[in-house]
């Protein structure tokens, strides 16, 4: 039985899990369903934004975005609204293409599905490209990329950054023992994967923006804002008492740029500066507000935390991205590794946790 990803995940109701009452298989069915749903639900990899991009006729240009994808994604949905005129072509990072024509009315919406040829759960640079109409022009009015949800996950695996790690629901069915000893089976598997899922079920993209062609945004010799306002950003709250989340900040300086750096400053106070490497990539980690679950809109301190993005150097900015990355991108959420493990039992062979005692039923 495959690990189906439900688009209507069952409520995981823990109220029936009380002492002196057996935890039934029906509760575990909901847990297995929720686990698979979280792994395969998709994400906003590059949030929709208004790029500053205009390509003259027959121009071929690539835009580099530094992103933090999830391995479970097998297909990405690229969406954009194009202005200009004539027939242009979009090429996704896996080489798939779509041609589109901007009508006389002035804009054309395009939704293109990319079949990913090289899946990864690690930080990576995606480089979609455009070929502007040979007798026309291309202006990008909006642009973004979503990771399409999965229908079914492959069973098993142990690393969410390298395998589907689906949990087979049949292994938590009524009448079966509580399994633990093999991958993809039983609530023991779900318990072991919780830490990894905490790092994987994240807000991959918080903000993205790019400039190119005739609309390339220039950098000056001192730090200056690139955008008219600071983009809104809010991280996940994962444990009691947490008030900040660590996010990843990345920016590319366009080819030919020299001595460039970018500074990211949160309204909540933190600031970090990153210098571009030989490829033009600048990377840094920044602390921002995390969600306040007591607030009706999730904002902490009744104000939107935002990230001021500034650039410095000789050249132009190609792209800026903010997002929650996997552990290899430095700590994605700042949660102590043992925090989620503290109350989990230890399954399989080995000593019991202290709070559990071994008693034999007297007859």
């Amino acid at each position: 039985m495959p690990a189906t990803v439900s688009q209507r995940p069952l409520n995981v109701d823990s109220r029936s899990m009380v002492s002196a009452r057996a935890v039934g298989a029906i509760e575990w069915q909901a847990v297995a369903n929720a686990y698979n749903g979280l792994v395969g639900m998709g994400s906003a990899l590059i949030p929709m934004h208004a790029p500053s991009i205009s390509y003259p006729s027959d121009d071929i240009a690539t835009v580099r975005f530094r992103v933090w994808p999830r391995y479970a994604c097998t297909h990405r949905l690229w969406m954009f609204t194009a202005g200009g005129s004539g027939t242009s072509t979009f090429t996704d990072p896996s080489g798939g293409t779509v041609a589109f024509t901007v009508p006389a009315s002035g804009s054309q919406f395009v939704a293109h599905v990319e079949a990913i040829t090289s899946r990864t759960g690690a930080e990576v640079t995606l480089s979609p490209s455009f070929h502007a109409a040979s007798a026309g022009s291309l202006v990008l009015q909006s642009f973004g990329c979503f990771e399409i949800p999965r229908a079914v996950l492959a069973i098993g695996g142990s690393d969410l950054a390298a395998a589907d790690c689906g949990l087979e629901p049949a292994t938590v069915r009524s009448g079966l023992p509580i399994a633990d000893d093999y991958a993809g089976a039983g609530l023991g598997f779900a318990a072991r994967e919780l830490d990894a899922l905490r790092d994987d079920a994240r807000r991959c993209g918080l903000f993205a923006w790019a400039s190119g062609g005739d609309f390339l945004v220039a950098l000056s010799g001192s730090f200056a804002p690139l955008l008219q306002t600071s983009p809104f950003a809010l991280g996940r709250m994962l444990y009691n008492g947490q008030t900040t989340a660590k996010i990843q900040c990345a920016a590319y300086a366009a080819s030919g740029s020299v001595g460039c750096s970018f500074r990211f400053t949160a309204t909540s106070g933190a600031s970090v500066t990153a210098v571009c490497d030989s490829t033009g990539l600048a990377r840094a980690e920044l602390a921002i507000d995390c969600e306040d679950l007591a607030a009706s809109d999730g904002r902490r301190s009744s104000r939107s935390d935002a990230v001021l993005v500034e650039g410095n150097g000789t050249g132009f900015v190609e792209s800026v991205t903010l997002g929650e990355g996997p552990p290899s991108s430095s700590s994605s959420a700042g949660i102590a590794s043992g925090a989620l493990k503290r109350a989990l039992p230890r399954f399989g062979r080995g000593p019991l946790p202290e709070f559990m005692s071994r008693k034999r039923r007297t007859r």
């Binding site: 823990s14 899990m17 949800p149 005692s357």
Partner: protein, 211 residues
């Protein structure tokens, strides 16, 4: 301690031992369930985050109402809708909540009104006729007469998601073969009306809040 027997296997509570397996107590079970539920709450995505550019030649700086001095709701030029994958929390609850942030500016002291609409995803492109504002939870409205940029937070709910919200997309099954997934998709649109000179939006962001 009561044990439940199901086909010869016993699911026991704390302080008892399952032959061949370890005991899973209710406290630990609750922790696992609550952790998963909380992770789902916190996976609210940032579906769109639109900011105007400073300079850059003739690049986009902000988005103006396409006509001035009009009492009809018209779309903002060059501000495309933001598509969203909608999530439902359970089979019985068909709502999702989106928090929309708008930073707006009125060109004069005249009243400017905006409304945000959550509509089913439309792959044919941006509409030219505003969806009628019906006061339902899928619409959020506010106005400003300030010539200083103001920020509004609007909460939009998607209630009663039906077949019109389902969109099929290619994906992969457990064996890596082509499959299809049907997902709920919507799009968030901004419409405005002004009784005075042109007014504009400087930022537009949509994120999902489950909480």
């Amino acid at each position: 301690m009561t044990a439940t027997s199901e086909n010869g296997y016993y699911v026991r509570g704390a302080d008892d031992e399952i032959i061949g397996n370890r005991v899973l107590d209710a406290g630990a079970s609750r922790d696992i369930a609550n952790n998963l539920d909380h992770l789902e709450d916190e996976m609210g995505q940032a579906w769109g985050n639109v900011c105007g550019t400073l300079g850059g030649g003739a690049g986009l700086t902000y988005w103006e109402l396409s006509s001035a001095s009009t009492t009809d709701y018209v779309g903002f030029s060059q501000l495309a809708p933001i598509p969203v994958f909608l999530r439902v929390r359970s089979a019985d609850i068909t709502t999702t909540r989106l928090v929309v942030r708008l930073r707006c500016y009125a060109a004069s002291a005249g009243t400017v009104g905006f409304y945000v609409a959550l509509m089913p995803f439309d792959p044919s492109g941006r509409r030219t006729v505003a969806p009628p504002f019906d006061g339902s939870s899928r619409f959020a409205q506010f106005g400003t007469s300030s010539t200083t940029a103001v920020e509004a937070l609007l909460t939009v709910y998607a209630g009663g998601l039906g077949d019109s919200w389902m969109v099929p997309w290619p994906t992969t099954d457990q064996n890596g073969n082509a499959a299809e997934v049907a997902v709920f998709m919507g799009q968030v649109e901004v419409w405005g009306v002004t009784t005075g000179p042109l007014s504009r939006i400087e930022a537009f962001a949509v994120r999902e809040f489950v909480g």
